[in-house]
Amino acid sequence: MNKTKDLFMAGLWEDNPVFRQMLGLCITLAITNKVANGVTMGVAVFFVLTASSFVVSLIGDTVPRRVRIPVFMLVIATFVTLVYIFLQAFFMPLSQALGAYVGLIITNCIILGRLESFSSENSPWDSLVDAAGVATGFAFALIAMSVVRELLGFGTLFGIQVMGPSWTPWVSMILAPGGFLVLGLLIWVQRAISPVEEE
């Protein structure tokens, strides 16, 4: 049980994919100006990562080493396309807001990285826990960033006005520079809380 918890927490905090491993930054910077986008992307990545981790851990031993990357890519692509179609069919506005970024989950290094380094060599349960931890960590990072950015940039949360009507929006927070700033500051905070051990 402890191992499960450790695995999960590592992905969520100590080895947080965004704050520690600096992966998936393209998506992180692009879509986090609204919390709704952040949540959707988090859920999408959660689904793709856990599902493909699970599948890969099942077939990991069977796949010859030389074709493992194509196979992983196929698995990921399948799930990403599923998500894409699903969003288009049932959450049209969100799908439009996220644009190409859902498709780009395929190239998200977090997913391929977890499959390659963890799932292909571990049991389905561990892979699932690991994937869930990492995906939750990613979602956490997205939501943390988007809360700050939406709050300052629009004065809203989930589109609901929370800062009062006289709030002057901080336009820079909505734009890419704000994304970089908030990302940098959050990485700073995260590392201040649990410092990186110097090698």
Binding site: N33, I59, T62, V63, P64, R66, V67, P70, V71, L74, V75, A77, T78, T81, L82, I85, F86, Q88, A89, F90, M92, G153, F154, P169, V171, I174, L175
Partner: protein
Amino acid sequence: MKEEIWMVAILVLVATISAGLLGFVNVTTRPIIKKNEVRKLRESVLESLKVDYTADNLEDKFESEIKTKKLDGKEIFFRYNDSGELSAVAFKVTGSGFQGPISGLISLKPDLKKIIGLEMLSQQETPGLGARITEEWFLNQFKGKEVEPRLLIVKSGAEEANNKVDAITGATRTSKAIQGLINDDVKHVRNDILTDKVMEGYLNE
């Protein structure tokens, strides 16, 4: 040799499964997606024509009130009132904004001079600034304004006139872009597609 075959076999297998799965999902969801897209456009059309509708009777309303014609590659929506008279014309206006293409849907009185309504379909303007062109207060200003001789988007506080609309403070470029694309496209439609002669044919159903 055996290993190679095994590799190919695995790849083919995975690809087949994946393709099958995706194919199945695609087939099942295609109608829904299609419907979503059509619905979106229709919503905008009705919105710009100031037709009241609800989510449930959207399709019926559109079918009963709007006629779609494709003229010179441009989709044009005609609305006839109960007595069969043409009451409004709507079409897409497109052009480049400050950051990327902007497209909207404009509806005009049959004389093609007075605006009934304007809706934005897509834009990539600066959020919080140029992107405010999708906000209600901005779009509502267009109601009843004239595009003859030119529609003008001017700084707020300027003298009021039939063809003047307040710009968005701090987003001069986007405002200018909107002004340009409306004027250009309306002019194009009026001069090249819906000339007076053509219009005569549509006036009464």
